[in-house]
């Protein structure tokens, strides 16, 4: 398939995902649009429950979307049938947060890594020798020693398990991977190993990532573009450096201000603490969902909100935070 470097590999257009609950509709993802170019990384940040994982899962069609479109190389995949989806899923993979619960404890590392080939039926076209070679190539690529083949997940530590998770995704030669908090459960020294591995794989295979995390330092390190979410809504979207240099939305600003860093000169900074807690996403009121906690909120904020371009490539739902 010819790959056009100037065409987005993944696009979301007005994507919504609601869940039915006994109390009403839970608006997990509300009207999210973005496009991701081949070989680039989109970071998605936000606090727990803001809908970032749901967004990742909806894009991969691991759960049906409520409305909107997800386009893979220009084609809307939301109405593809199972067979078509199998083909697409070879190009779109996911790695999960918890390396302890995302691997079947009764399968050997080798079986875990070949499982995706079986599931998507790619295995049929491969001889046993080819498969063996492929597995050892992928294990090598992900930094897994050969003797791990016959080990089981409980014999590995968190970092190595996360490498197995990555190998499971990489064996299909995907073009796009959703990384859902892949380093959150790891110690910093291991976290750095995995982040560098992800960057190496991206350089080598031209992968695109959607990197979901709540850790802003990590997201800045790995992403080209960053999308900030609050209660299902995108509040700001900009290039990584631009976002950190000129945060526009009051929420983004508070979020950036809250990050603890080892830079001691920041110790005496003026602290922006957001009052209160996230309200309920069930049957939310119209308008900006951050308004109840926002120091700048006015009556107009409760009307409606949409992303506006504030400078080329920089979109924000509100610019009150920029002072």
């Amino acid at each position: 398939m010819p790959e056009d470097k100037n065409k987005p590999i993944i696009e979301a257009i007005n994507l919504c995902k609601y869940f039915k609950t006994p109390k009403g509709q839970l608006h997990a993802v509300e009207d999210v649009s973005f496009s991701l170019m081949p070989g680039k990384t989109l970071g998605v940040v936000g606090e727990s429950g803001c809908g970032k994982s749901t967004l990742g899962r909806t894009i991969l069609r691991l759960q049906p979307a409520t409305s909107g479109e997800v386009r893979y190389e220009g084609e809307n995949i939301l109405n593809y049938n199972r067979k078509q989806m199998n083909r697409i899923h070879q190009n779109m993979q996911m790695i999960f947060q918890d390396p302890y619960s995302s691997l079947d404890p009764r399968m050997s590392i080798r079986a875990l890594i070949t499982e995706p080939l079986e599931v998507l039926g790619t295995k049929k076209n491969m001889s046993a020798a080819e498969e063996k070679e492929k597995v050892s190539e992928i294990m090598d690529m992900c930094g897994l020693p050969k003797y791990y083949n016959n080990l089981y997940p409980h014999e590995l530590d968190g970092g190595m398990r996360q490498r197995v998770g990555l190998a499971r995704a990489m064996i299909l030669d995907p073009k796009f991977i959703v990384c859902d908090e892949p380093v959150s459960a790891l110690d910093v020294s291991i976290q750095a190993q995995i982040l560098n591995l992800l960057l190496d794989l991206q350089d080598r295979n031209g992968l695109s990532y959607m990197f979901i995390t709540h850790d802003l330092a990590v997201v800045k390190y790995i992403s080209d573009e960053i999308m900030v979410m609050y209660m299902g809504q995108v509040v700001e979207l900009a290039e990584s450096d631009e976002l950190f240099a000129h945060p526009m939305h009051p929420y983004t600003r508070a979020l950036l201000n809250s990050i603890p860093t080892i830079d001691l000169s920041r110790r005496n900074r003026e602290r922006i603490t957001i009052r209160g807690e996230v309200s309920s996403p069930i049957n939310p009121a119209p308008g900006c969902r951050f308004a109840p906690r926002c120091p700048y909120a006015t009556e107009a904020c409760r009307q409606n909100q949409c992303l506006k371009q504030v400078s080329p490539g920089h979109f924000a739902a509100c610019t009150e935070g920029f002072k």
Partner: protein, 331 residues
């Protein structure tokens, strides 16, 4: 400056091990620590470094029969805790020494209203108060941590993670302890909520002037909150100093340097991270020399043979042969 203040807690050459059927796990190996009145000490280290074991040893809450203090002393305001009786520890726990646990979701009782849980602690420490006074105290504690007292009849599941942690903090502070052990108090929380909790702990610390031991793996949190830092590796303090000495000084332990290089910077994005290769040695089978030797970029022959002597300058302690050598040359 710090030295003029009273010493609250002193730990000398502490060894703690867990005895299991298959092996002896050596979690803490000759750890030294001194904490002064009103000091905020950060205890940093990776998973399995022995941070939580240390906190449990101080409170004598190690799992019975399995966990054992084999050597060393823990002195709290002049009295030895290692040999203290359980009855005496019961008086200290929560009253003079309090602990905040990592997971606010599991450290509260799901079947009791939060108000009753706070009341339980008050009953324990202030049995002499009348019930009206006790109720007043419950309300005070809720207000202090920023939760409306009207919600005291609710149950833990009705609160968010940050609010549960506030309730746990309120319970820990009721008796105005002189020593507060906080084991990863913000790890399970989001950054904006983490900022709120740290702010709260800072405020409360000023109010009560308790000494705080903040156990965390997050160097950023330490730099924000603490006065001094102890870096723990394989159950030993490998470096101790003020936050300035640790984060802005040039002479650091190679492990501390490694940890700092692992953290993505918010200001400089050009550089690739430099991870520390390998992982911590198996506590069932510790090496003879320096525990960090296998992963150390500056490893020398002597590092594999014996443990270094602590090198100290202006209260900045480093446990590394590199500094031994320098010392030898200067002498």
């Amino acid at each position: 400056m710090e030295n003029d203040k009273k010493v609250v807690l002193e730990i000398k050459d502490l060894h703690v091990q867990y005895n299991t059927d298959d092996a002896t796990v050596r979690a803490v190996n000759g750890l030294n620590l001194t904490l002064h009145e009103g000091e905020k000490l950060g205890l940093v280290g990776e998973t399995g470094a022995g941070k939580t074991t240390l906190a449990l040893s101080i409170l004598k809450l190690l799992p019975e029969k399995v966990g054992e203090i084999t050597k060393g002393s823990i002195t709290y305001k002049g009295e030895d805790l290692v040999t203290a009786s359980e009855g005496h520890m019961l008086k200290l726990r929560g009253h003079s020494i309090s602990m905040i646990f990592q997971d606010p979701m599991t450290s509260l009782n799901p079947t009791m209203s939060v108000g009753d849980q706070v009341l339980e602690v008050i009953n324990l420490h202030f049995p002499e108060l009348s019930s009206a006074e006790k109720t007043k105290k419950v309300d005070e504690m809720f207000n202090m941590v920023g939760i409306p007292a009207s919600r005291k009849g609710e149950f833990p599941h009705q609160f968010s993670g940050g609010m549960k942690q506030r309730i746990v903090i309120a319970m820990a502070l009721i008796a105005e302890p002189e020593l507060l052990l906080a084991d990863e108090p913000t790890t399970a929380l989001d950054v904006t909520i983490q900022a709120q909790i740290l702010e709260l702990m800072r405020k409360l610390k000023e109010e009560f002037n308790s000494a705080v031991v903040l156990i965390t793996h997050d160097l950023g949190v330490v730099a924000e909150f603490c006065d001094t830092v102890s870096v723990i590796y394989s159950g030993m303090v490998v470096e101790h100093g003020t936050v300035e000495q640790i984060f802005e000084g040039d002479g650091n332990h190679p492990y501390t340097k490694g940890l700092i290089h692992c953290i993505p910077s918010l200001t400089d994005t050009s550089k690739r991270l430099k991870p520390i290769p390998g992982r911590m040695p198996d506590p069932r089978n510790l090496p003879q020399g320096c525990c960090f030797a296998d992963r150390c970029p500056n490893c020398m022959e002597v590092c594999k043979q014996r443990l270094p002597e602590p090198y100290e300058k202006d209260g900045h302690m480093i446990l590394c042969h590199l500094y031994d050598e320098k010392e030898a040359k200067n002498a």
